[in-house]
């Protein structure tokens, strides 16, 4: 994703490989560099190892550590970047719990070009 002239680095936290592939290609279309973590713990470990991202696309249901736990942990670690919850469950419920965990927004998956445009706008507004 490009915000202004700045390239955006995204972390896709998702245990389903098909969704990983889809979201990576979609973000590439928006000229975004992306990295994939297979669950919340892998995402946390990446940040602890010094990796830096502008936005995290966080799936809700994952093994080892789910998206809500990972979101809370990232905020506790001081991550101030954009966290976007992504869910295939009830969207209203997901929005509420992701918001309580510290996410900035939540969308249905799979993400669409319109959703990515909206996320980009959210980052730009911040």
């Amino acid at each position: 994703m490009m915000v202004g002239e700045k390239k955006i680095y995204a972390l896709i936290v998702e245990d389903d490989r098909v969704t990983q592939m889809r979201h990576r290609m979609l973000l590439k279309r928006f000229k975004c560099e992306s990295h994939v973590a297979g669950n919340g713990k892998e995402a946390i470990d990446l940040f602890r190892s010094g990796a830096s991202f502008d936005v995290v696309l966080m799936d809700m249901e994952m093994p080892v550590m789910n998206g809500l736990e990972a979101t809370k942990e990232l905020r506790a670690m001081g991550f101030e970047g954009h966290i976007v919850g992504v869910t295939s469950r009830d969207l209203d419920f997901a929005k509420q719990v992701f918001n309580e965990a510290g996410a900035d927004s939540c969308y249905e998956k799979p993400l669409t070009p319109e959703y990515v445009t909206s996320i980009l706008q959210e980052i730009n507004d911040n």
Binding site: M21, M25, E61
Partner: protein, 145 residues
């Protein structure tokens, strides 16, 4: 000319599958992501989907055949299969997975078993459909080389 015929055949197949509700617009969006740098993106994604779905369905079969069903596990697997199916554009498959997810959350064994039958039926249809798409995509790709 052969390439044009193959593309037409592929488009007609996809259109027919969408008319039947087997695929939805998410498949069109997936196909739209394929480009010159990733000319086999659709075929590769189909391969990954079918491999993952086979494993998930095998685990669901095992879980649902246990005397004491591990409902949280079944819920997780059904939700995972639903999400994966949505990402490939498999609408009917995603819908029946969602129903299985709900039945499992409610710990309803008989409903789970009935719906799992539906999952197997829809998967069989989707698997055959995606394999046909993959074959045509591969033929189009080979024709370009």
């Amino acid at each position: 000319m052969a390439g044009k015929d193959l593309n037409q055949k592929l488009n007609e197949l996809i259109s027919s599958l969408q008319d039947q509700g087997i695929l939805d617009d998410y498949f069109d969006e997936l196909k739209g992501l394929q480009d010159e740098q990733s000319p086999q993106f659709v075929t590769n994604t189909i391969t990954i989907y079918l491999g993952g779905a086979d494993d998930t369905i095998a685990e669901l079969t095992k879980n649902l055949s246990e005397p004491a069903v591990n409902y949280p596990r079944v819920t997780y697997l059904a939700d995972k299969l639903k999400g994966s199916s949505m990402s490939i554009g498999g609408a009917r498959m995603a819908d029946v997975c969602a129903e299985l997810c709900e039945a499992s959350e409610a710990n309803k064994r008989e409903a789970c078993l009935a719906l799992f039958g539906g999952v197997n039926r829809e998967y069989s249809i989707l698997q055959e459909s995606l394999n046909k798409i993959a074959q045509l995509e591969q033929a189009i790709h080979d024709n370009k080389d």
